[in-house]
């Protein structure tokens, strides 16, 4: 049972949002920072990134002011927007948003390089971009910080991306003051020649593993010295059946049966609280998209199970349902979560919609037994979907979405169209009550109606109200009441209770609440 909190409130369907990322502040788990694409023209695929922050554990969110873009004397290098959000924290409250600037038409370049924005106030405000690497081949960056106080490299922030097919790398060891590559090499030094869409994981001893997909193989490199050096590339999984190799691609990107949105097989990885590390991906070997994964219990020294991986869920959904866009994250206690989209008809003959699912492992990734539906309504990926690169054959719901994790649990952070607009939603686990009490007492004159209000109720809570007279008077009803509701903010509700005295005497009343479920 999950609360679904709407993170963004877009003024227009033109401001569709997708491809989200979220990370919690390691020093304050009430503080999380998210980011996503925010379109300005979905028909022409014009967008930039927007950043969001919460300071109450995801109950309410605020959108930061637009992120600054850079000009350039060469019109082909003027930033039209930024893309591919990746968020990481250091150990001093610094939050970093890695972004991919790109020019507008008619520039011949698709991208311009890698930029870093920093926030020192939990994501409320952001610095000007630090344009740390300039290459028109840069794409698909990922980032993470060393969040482990016991690690000798605690507070380092690492990022990797594709520079063409080269696996490019950068790190900061001084809270963003300087950036460098491997050893003393410059930003963007190459770790491998065949990279696509890297994913970085930091283990509890400070080891850094960078995974990427090369054809039908997932490879990785490992550093045990904070990024001063890396191993040669090694194989984590091979013989994958990728979505690109299995699905039609009328607009150049694979599309699932019944869908028009683009999908890709991209690796996602995370470490547990010990020597476990897991890498997962979307795989089509079963005739439908499924999440497969592989696991190591010795920090990537050896990988368990079949070389091509094992299904995340041994008993998957019907073949009419496609599981894709996996995202792994782990809590400090070692629970490993894998969030993914499940696309298909939600009832016999119904339209193909998407649910957000979360599978959780409590045994270091050995099994993922608990599967929970996070989205409390299914959403239609055809609604308000931008055209991928303006191509009417393929739409866009993001190439990934996010899963945050902290000592407060898991926080899926996804695109959802339930409002008619592609908005970002955040999920938080709820617990069942009830918790009951008396909210207020008062008096209502004979024949009168008096209205009370009570504010600051978390919007996720399921609350029911009951009003009783406390003045005994037998023989006929004494009161009736009506509940009215106000959404005072994205995260809070004000209840208005209008109590009518239907008797001919003043009565004392008592308004009682029951919280049936809370987060």
């Amino acid at each position: 049972m999950w609360c679904n909190t709407q993170v963004t409130y877009s003024p227009s369907p033109n401001n569709a949002r997708s491809e989200s990322e979220v990370e919690s502040n390691p020093l304050n788990s009430l503080n999380m920072v998210g980011a996503s694409k925010r379109f300005t023209n979905p028909a022409t695929y014009d967008f930039t990134l927007a950043a969001y922050s919460t300071f109450d554990g995801g109950e309410s969110w605020a959108e930061a002011a637009p992120l600054a873009l850079l000009g350039h004397p060469d019109p082909n290098r003027v930033w039209a927007g930024i893309s591919d959000p990746a968020v990481a924290w250091d150990n001093a409250g610094g939050c970093y948003l890695f972004a991919l600037p790109f020019p507008g038409p008619p520039s011949p370049y698709q991208t311009l390089g890698i930029a870093v924005y920093k926030s020192g106030d939990g994501g409320r405000t952001w610095s000007a971009p630090n344009f740390i690497h300039q290459s028109t081949g840069d794409d698909k960056q990922w980032a993470t910080g060393d969040r482990n106080p016991g690690s000798p490299y605690y507070g380092h922030v690492y990022a990797a991306w594709d520079n063409g097919s080269q696996l490019a790398f950068v790190r900061t060891v001084d809270h963003g003051a300087t950036w460098r590559g491997v050893g003393t090499q410059p930003v963007g030094s190459s770790l491998a020649p065949d990279s696509f869409s890297p994913s970085i994981t930091v283990m509890n001893d400070g080891s850094v593993l960078i995974f990427w997909i090369a054809g039908s193989t997932i490879k990785y490199v490992k550093s045990t010295d904070g990024g001063d050096s890396f191993s040669a590339p090694q194989v984590a999984a091979s013989g994958l059946t990728t979505l690109s190799g299995s699905l039609p691609a009328p607009g150049g990107f694979p599309e699932l049966p019944g869908g028009k949105f683009r999908v890709l097989t991209l690796p996602t990885s995370c470490a547990g609280s010990g020597p476990e590390v897991v890498v997962a991906w979307a795989d089509y070997r079963d005739g439908a998209s499924r999440i497969y994964y592989r696991r190591s219990t010795n920090r990537g020294g050896a990988w368990l199970g079949p070389a091509s991986g094992q299904p995340l869920l041994p008993a998957g959904p019907p073949l009419t349902q496609h599981d894709f866009h996996p995202q792994l994250a782990s809590t400090p206690s070692g629970a490993i979560g894998c969030a993914y989209y499940e696309f298909g008809p939600k009832w016999s003959g119904g339209p193909s919609w998407i649910d957000v699912q979360l599978a959780i492992s409590h045994d270091g990734g050995a099994t993922f037994g608990d599967v929970e539906r996070v989205s409390n309504v299914s959403w239609d990926p055809a609604v308000d979907a931008p055209l991928s690169h303006g191509d009417p054959r393929t739409t866009f719901i993001g190439d990934y979405f996010a899963l945050g994790a902290s000592n407060r649990g898991f926080f899926p952070f996804w695109t959802d169209t339930r409002t008619g607009i592609q908005e970002i939603f955040c999920g938080r686990a709820m617990v069942l009550g009830p918790w009951t009490g008396v909210q207020f007492r008062g008096t209502v004159p004979a024949g009168a109606t008096h209205r009370w209000y009570t504010w600051g109720w978390p919007a996720c809570w399921h609350v029911v109200w009951d009003v009783l007279p406390t003045t005994p008077h037998s023989g006929a009803p004494q009161l009736r009441w009506r509940v009215q509701v106000e959404r005072a903010s994205s995260g809070s509700i004000t209840y208005w209770l209008a109590i009518t005295n239907v008797s001919s005497n003043a009565i004392d009343v008592e308004a009682r609440y029951a919280v049936l479920a809370a987060d």
């Binding site: 919007a459 509940v483 009215q484 959404r487």
Partner: protein, 85 residues
């Protein structure tokens, strides 16, 4: 107890809209609540009423009428709580 969201939607300014949801086991004790999802502070945005139809010996259909008290359209979320399972 089990809780969830049954549907979301929107109600035009000043209007009432009725949804129905069918196939609820008659043995279940179901409580309905409705909240707006469009923040707009200052005064109440909605109220609701529940009407019930015994569609068969074992099934109940709930009819939920939501009234928008404001002069702007609102998005809503209808929640249920089954208190005896």
């Amino acid at each position: 107890m089990h809780v969830g969201t049954q549907f979301t939607g929107s109600v035009a300014a000043g209007a009432s809209h009725t949804w129905f949801t069918w196939g609820w086991p008659a043995a279940w004790n179901v409580i309905w609540t409705v909240v707006p999802t469009s923040p707009s502070p200052g005064s109440p945005q909605l109220e609701w009423e529940v009407a019930v139809e015994r569609a068969s010996g074992t099934a109940v259909t709930y009819w939920i009428t939501i009234r928008n008290l404001r002069s702007a359209s609102i998005n809503i979320e209808a929640r249920y709580a089954i208190t005896n399972i």
